[in-house]
Structures are given as C-alpha cells and as structure tokens.
Amino acid sequence: MRSAIKAYNYDWMMGSLLEAAAKLPAGTAKETALAFNHIPYFKAPLEALIETGPPGIHFLNLLSKYYKNIVNARNDGKKIAATTFCSSPVIFYAMDIVPLTFEVLTAIGAMVWKRGMFDYMDYGCEVGMPETSCSSQRGALGAYLAGLGASIDFVVCDTPGVCDTNANAFVFAAEYLDKPFFQLNYPSTLGDDRSQAYHVKDYQALIAFLENQIGKTLDYNKLEAHLQEVEVQDAITADLEDMLMLVPTPIPPIYTLMIYSGRFCFAGHPEYTRLLELLRETAQKRMAEGIPGLKAGVENLRVLMCYIDHYTVDMNFYNYLEMRGIATTGSILTRNFRDDNKYCGPLEGSCYGMDTSSPEAMLDTMAQMNARLPMVRSIRGPYDQHGMWLEECLALARLYQADCIIYNGTPGCRNTWGMVKPFARDIEKQGIPVHIMNDDAFDDRVESWEATRERLDEFFTVRGLL
C-alpha cells in the first residue's frame, strides 16, 4: 500500500468528509457552488444527494454519524463488532455495541472517493485474501487489516450456508486480527418449523457470545424500545414500497439506496425513522401532484434489480437511470420482508412478524427478522425452491410491474454466479427479459463504468425496451 494512503485512517477520513458535506447546504447557494469546485471527485454524489433536499442531507448526516460512532467508540466506552449487511444492527444497538459493516463502508468509499476503494482492496490481497474474494468486504476490510481504522473488538459473521465468500472474509478478518469470532449459520430452507427453530437457537448463541464479549447481559427493555422503533420503520417502509408499485413511481432511484443503506446502518434508531419519514413525505407530495420520481418527469422503463445496485465512483449508476428515464423498483437489498408488506402475500413463509410481548417473543422476532435480511433470505437454498430467489423475483417483477430484471453483483459472488445463468433462463421463460451484468459493483477495474453502460444500453435496445 502506498504511503500516501497510509497517512489517514479510512474511517476518520470518510467520517470527516461526510460531516463537512452534510454542512454544505447550510451555506448560501454561492458558497455551495464554490465548494463544489474544490471537490471534483465528490461533487456528483454530493450533488445528487443534496438535490433531493432534506432526505439527502439527513442521509449525509446519518452516514457521517455512522463513521463517527466507529471512530469514537473507544472514547465512548463501547466495543466494535465487525459485521455484515445481512445482520441487523438492532441487537448491537440494544447492547451498546457499535456495528461496523464492511459492505456499507466499502460502498460509501467506492461512490465518493476519487480512487474508489482500490488501494484497500489490493491491500487485502497483499496480506492473503484471494483476489477472487468479494470486493464488497475486501475494500473496507483492507483498511482495517492495514490498521487504518478503529480497533475491531470482535467479529460477527452472518452468511455461512448462504455465501462462502462473505463468510470467509469475516473468518479471515478474525484470524488475521486475532479477534473473537461468531457465526450465524443458515439452513437451506426457510419458513418451515425446523429452520425457524434453528434460527432461534443460533440467535440465542449469538446473544450469549455478545454478552460474553461486553461483560453484561442483554437488557430486553432496551431491545423492546429498538424493536418498537423498527415497527414504525417497517410501517413507513411499507408505504414507500406501495409507492414503488405505482406507475409512474414517485420514488427516485436514489431513494432506494437511502432506504436500505439507512437500514443497514441504523435500523431501530430514531435517526433512520426520520430519514424514512422525510423520504415518505417527499414521495407522497410528488404522488399527490402526479410527479414521477425521475427528474426527467417521464418514466420510460421500470427495472427490478434482482441482486444489488452498482456503487462505483460518482454514483454513475443512479445518474444513468435518471438520464435514461429508468425507474428502479428496488433490489434484493431494498425489501425487509416484514409480513405486512403487500409483496409478502405470494411469498408465504418468507416474511417475519413483530412480537415484543416477552423476551422469548423478542428473541424469536430478532431471529426471524435477521433470517429475512438480504441474501440470507432469498438465496440460501436452491434458487427454484419454494419462496426462494426465482419465486421472489417473479412475484416482485409482476407486483412492481417491472419491464425487465437486471442482475448485478461482484465476481466474488460464487453463490449467485453458480446459478445465475439457469436462473435468468427460467425468468426469460416467463416472458421477462433479463440482463446479467459482468462487472463488479464495487470495482471499476473489473469492467469500466463506460463498458457497463454500453452493455446496459445494448440490452435495452436489442430487447426493444428503450
């Protein structure tokens, strides 16, 4: 790793940058415009967020706070858990633990920093992670492996049984940094009594591990407060989901990013509730006025991202959707699979319910909620099994009236690359066009954004969609 990269801690640097960015709209328009001249590489994502008004500004503050929590954890007397986007942060907040989610930190760095996360990704390889490992963890993890971040206290992994490469990154982190490790492990089925019971036992073991790490027991009253906040958040999210189903949708593409990033960082926290409220308010206003979410005011196409979005420099992907007049109906990351969502109807057994009436009920709620998080819900067993990825995507595409489905991931995703071709073929058989993107959502060196854009254009043109 170059010495210039080692000059600043990654988390402190990003946190400071986002904190300053969030203050920018408080100045005059002239001041903001002048500031943009000094941040050419950060300008596009910042502009895109600030343009959304209060939701984007609140989102910037939220991300800044996420970093600051990590940077200040030691001073605040809190421990840091390195964890994954498939793991709900609610349990950590209920136990005064600071979650540090590699994928979120990689995505933010990839979008807002000139160099993307390349240097940190490469450092991961320098110390032994395979170059074929998933870039979503390897980016931010590289910084922590290099000692360029706050000290991690323990590692909580949440994908064994679902994604080897994800789990393996956390195992490597724990061994390399010599930190305690815990894994939540998933069976190949969902919704049946046996797997439901397994989730609960596994979650009980997680709580015991966390209690052991922090030296105190879980306060169920505190957990209840956080779950009640989740209850509010889920209700607002369901409203937003309903609006995503409208044609045209009043939800701009960038909102979906804010919905799931906020959830990964602050589920169960009032800050995230406020973000969702702002998103709902602005979307409802547009809906009432009959204004589509897309800036152009016309919705040419509706896509369902069946896996993840694209996060490299400048928020190119979201800008591209805006430029082409393409509405996104969300990705695998957007949905929370709370049972009161409309889309849960055709996906019986796939969703979770909320019950805070007793510690046992809360434990069950947490375990089942966690088991419905992105990827671990949809891609755990054979993709054509009841309730899994194929059924889910077909149901969502129909409900949200998507014109096509797009797969985007990373080369590290063995889990999906192992079957995405037959999966796409099965969807095509149902009359829905599918495009498989061959890029890396976090690393433009695999395929340049320009090439990715050309391929998307080609798909839309050849299939007569645009």
Binding site: P130, T132, M419
Partner: protein, 393 residues
C-alpha cells in the same frame, strides 16, 4: 497397486463396473461430509464423484457463471456428456457455494440433456457449525437421508447394518492410518502418489474390496526394502484435488516425496475411525462434521493449524505446498494464513493457485515447484542438483 492406480485414473474403473454388472445401485456424492456408510449399509455403492477425464467445458460453462471453480464445472461437463448415466443416484452437499449450485445446474442441464438426472437426486444439507444445534441438525439430516434412501431403493438400513458398515469402513481406515505412518518414516517405502491413489480408490471401490486390497498392499509394503531417504519431504494441502498428476509433478525427477497431505480426497477424509459403540447415526455425525478438517467449518482455523503442525512434525516435513483451485476462496484464504503462521515457525511454504482437471498449466506449476525445491536445498545446505545433466538425460 494396480487396482488403486486404475481406480484413481478412471471414473468407470473395473471394480465399479463389476458392481454395476451385479445390478446393485450406485449413488454418487460430491463431498467428504457425506457418511458413505449409510449407502454401503443399504448395499449401495457410494461413489465419490470426480471429474477427471474431462475433455471440454462447453456444458459446464453453459450453466455455471464465469467466476466459478473448475471442479463443479468439470463435473457438470461429464454429467452432461453422459459419463455418469451409470449411477442410480446423486447426493449434493453444500461443501462450498460452487458445489452446492451443482444441484440446480445438474437439474437444469437435465432439461436439455436427456437421462442425466438419476432417479434419486438428493440435497444433503450439512451445516457450517459442529456444536449444539449444528450437530443436532446434522444428525437429523442423516436420519432423513437414511429414510429417503430406504424409501427410494426399497431397502432397510437398520442400526445393525449401519454398525456393520462402520466396522467395515473402520477396517480400511486403520490400514490407511498404518500406511500413513509408514509413509512418514525416514526411510521411504512408498511415494506420495501411491498413497494418494489408495485414498482415492477408497472413495470408489466397494469397501470390502478396498479393505482386502489394502491388506495385500500393506503386506507387500512391509516386505519391501526401503527406497532411501527423500531429498525433500513435502506436505501437500489445500482444496479439492484428486489428480495424481499433481503428485507426480512434485515427485518425478526431483528427489521430493509427498510424505503427508491434508487434502479432501487424501487421508484427511479417511484417517480417524468412527466410534463403533453407541448410536451409529450420532457416531457418524460426530465423525463427519465434528472433525472440522475443512475451512467450510468456519472459526476452526486454529484447530486445523494444529492438525497441520502435528502432521508436519510426525512426517518430518521440510516444506509445505498449498494449492487451491482458482475461485476457491475458502482454501485460498486459509492457505494464506497457514503460510503466514508456518513460515513464522521456519517452515517453508509455497502457495499455488491452479485449475482443476487436465494439467494445462503443468509448465508453470513445474517451474514454481522447482524453484521452491531449490529454496529448500539452499535452506538445508544440500548441494543443488545438476539440472543440465538431468536435462541431457
């Protein structure tokens, strides 16, 4: 032993075909986590699926994506081209993401290639943790598999039959362990390739035939005069490898011998006996899952490092060659940790990433292995071999 070499080199070896000729079923399986004793107890031949003799990749590439290990792709290639039509069943285990997706890819290829999906096609859901509820889940998986096999093949798998199968399997395990000790002796009586051929044969031959042949081989080895001390005592470890050619590449014309291995087709999967007392299903579960010998059992790295160090000490290993098939992150990352920790102890290590199947990158591998052996020469103070005269010969 010719029978071992033949079984290691050919999927449809004579013993397997002899079994087939009797009309008794054969069930293929993909991973060392499947207790083969269950099938054997039902008078079914358990056949660990291998993908040697692959001569193309068009079918494998049509279903799997580009970023997938070449082992499941080669397997699918053979499946699609009809090489496995002789098996009556297949059990897919989520050993890793590549292999677990063989489940879908095999079934979907079956829509395009007639008759390639056997009548019994089963997903055996081995968990990633061996403690408490993880072990309970695995026990239930074994019980369910037993019931499914009984139902499909109209057989009975009683505890008595399971116990007898365990005893038969243990017989050969103990013999493998004895030969493994002989292999670790200072004076060499067998090559690493010979030992590896035997362990592979153990995943294909009917177990009683294998035991009988192992007994004969042991008797021969005990009579055999030592072949001298190897120039370099090598340990080979890492991801899926059932390729004798890799051993031959290390051993032929180098003076190096693979005196220990930790491969999923090697003695790693065949060494320790299963408990013969108590409930046979629970004993099988403890043996197959509890060993934590493979990086799919997350959080057990230190256990595996201790196992490797023990083997290194026992076999007086000079250097460790670690290999993984490209896209196998589990072994790729663990090999890096092994390298860090073993080199810190002064044990030279070489990490190789390669493709499964025909050794298309033989030249590259040979070069790197030769360079590694030169490093061992330098460290041991042994004179460097005269490569020019060797080339002339």
């Amino acid at each position: 032993m010719k029978i071992f070499q033949e079984a290691a080199a050919h999927i449809q070896c004579q013993s397997v075909m002899d079994w087939k000729a009797t009309g008794k079923p054969i069930v293929g399986y993909t991973c060392s986590y499947l207790p083969a004793e269950i099938l054997y107890a039902a008078d079914i031949l358990p056949l660990r699926l291998r993908a040697i003799e692959t001569d193309g990749m068009d079918i494998g590439d049509a279903y799997f994506g580009p970023f997938i290990c070449s082992f499941p792709k080669c397997l699918l290639q053979l499946v699609g081209s009809g090489h496995f039509k002789f098996i009556d069943g297949a059990v897919i285990t989520p050993g890793c993401d590549g292999i677990r997706r063989l489940d879908e890819c095999w079934r979907k290829a079956g829509e395009d290639y007639e008759g390639i999906v056997p009548g019994f096609f089963y997903y055996f859901d081995a968990p990633h943790k061996a403690e408490g509820h993880g072990m309970d889940w695995f026990v239930e998986e074994i019980e369910t598999l037993v019931a499914e096999v009984e139902d499909h093949f109209q057989v009975e798998i009683s505890n008595e039959k399971l116990h007898a199968a365990i005893v038969e399997y243990n017989k050969a395990r103990r013999m493998l362990d004895t030969v493994e000790s002989m292999r670790a002796d200072k004076e060499m009586v067998l090559s690493g390739a010979d030992m590896f051929a035997a362990t592979i044969a153990g995943t294909a031959l009917p177990r009683d035939v294998f035991s009988e042949q192992m007994a004969r081989w042991m008797a021969i080895l005990k009579q055999k005069p030592p072949l001298g001390s190897p120039r370099h005592r090598i340990m080979l470890l890492g991801s899926i490898s059932d390729d004798l050619e890799l051993f031959q590449l290390i051993e032929s014309d180098t003076g190096a011998v693979v005196v220990a291995d930790n491969l999923c087709f090697g003695v790693r999967a065949g060494g320790e006996p299963v408990e013969e007392a108590g409930d046979p299903v629970e004993a099988l579960a403890r043996h197959y899952l509890g060993g934590s010998t493979c990086p799919r059992l997350y959080g057990k790295y230190k256990h595996r490092l201790a196992l490797v160090k023990e083997k290194i000490a026992k076999a007086l290993v000079d250097g460790v060659i670690m290999q993984n098939i490209r896209f196998c992150d589990l072994h790729g990352a663990e090999n890096a940790l092994f390298e860090r920790d073993l080199e810190a102890l002064g044990i030279p290590c070489l990490r190789l990433e390669r493709e499964y199947g025909p050794m298309t990158d033989r030249g590259r591998l040979k070069l790197r292995i030769s360079a590694f052996l030169e490093r061992l020469d330098r460290q041991s103070g042994k004179p460097r071999p005269d490569f020019r005269s060797r080339a002339a010969n």
